[in-house]
Symmetry: C2
Subunit: 172 residues, 2 copies
């Protein structure tokens, strides 16, 4: 799929068909996710592919009951790795690794969309409880929960602010 | 350009031809940048397109002398808008708006690459000094400096960790 059509066509999808999404396609999406740039090429990001119903249900609960985390055939939890970014100290932990994970998620979502697969980026959850549900060590921070599946809804195209509101020239 | 070829082909480019990059193409890149998802669709991101030689030079200095900020024909500074994300309190300011900016940068870089234009994501700079150079208000945080231009180098494809090192199943 053309990059522009892909960026323009992607929407957040929260209602999924029960059809399975193969590991092959998830793994290819994660390989492409990790081709996003990262600070010092440290790739301070990890991916947890959740298919287990109990873990999905636990994640739904730590995300304040967002039902589509439970009903998606697969959920990918994107994590920042504070140990792998340690070289950059506080700026690494508080900024770079979060950016590096986010860029990876964007690659992943675009690729999924190009394959006719929907996803949604969930940020509203209790990180400490998510870490317990996933068994992540202290240096691994789950920062996004991304339910994935074949769409059973079209997904809404939400309005965006025009460039005039966001773009500045030379200085603010 | 195909999305997969685009993700696979993008590299960080730090040496640029002097050829100008039109505002039209920058603006189209920023429109596509802002099609990335954002928390609550709040779009807590702003873009400063820098062509002024003095501002570019100032940005180079706040970025510890990274020369390609001065030599790029155009530099886009991606900012997080803490006021626009205020609804989400601390998690909004410390996480969501940083993710929302990063996802936008990824869209922007991919589009630029599809047009034969190179870019590099610079995170190593003094934010406070960058804010002074750009005249940004207290609620606007410059979080990435992205020099942009037609490549005068191929850009190095850097090795990535294999999925086996990064992907976990169900739990850590």
């Amino acid at each position: 799929m053309d990059i522009i059509a892909c960026i323009e066509g992607r929407t957040s999808v929260r209602v999924f068909k029960p059809d399975p999404v193969d590991d092959d396609i998830i793994d290819e999406g994660l390989r492409l996710a990790n081709l996003a740039p990262s600070a010092g090429n440290l790739q301070a990001r990890d991916f947890i592919v959740v298919r287990d119903a109990k873990v999905k249900k636990a994640l739904m609960h730590v995300a304040y009951g967002q039902e589509y985390i439970r009903t998606a055939p697969v959920v990918v939890v994107f994590c920042a790795n504070l140990e792998r970014i340690a070289h950059y100290d506080q700026r690494g932990r508080d900024l770079y690794c979060l950016q590096d994970v986010a860029a990876a998620i964007q690659n992943f979502s675009l690729f999924m969309h190009s394959k006719g697969i929907g996803s949604v980026w969930v940020g509203a959850f209790d990180e400490t409880k998510a870490a317990v549900a996933l068994g992540t060590p202290a240096h691994v921070r789950p920062v996004a929960i991304v339910p994935v599946g074949y769409p059973a809804e079209k997904g809404m195209k939400r309005k965006r602010l025009p460039n005039e509101k966001l773009v500045h020239r030379d200085r603010w």
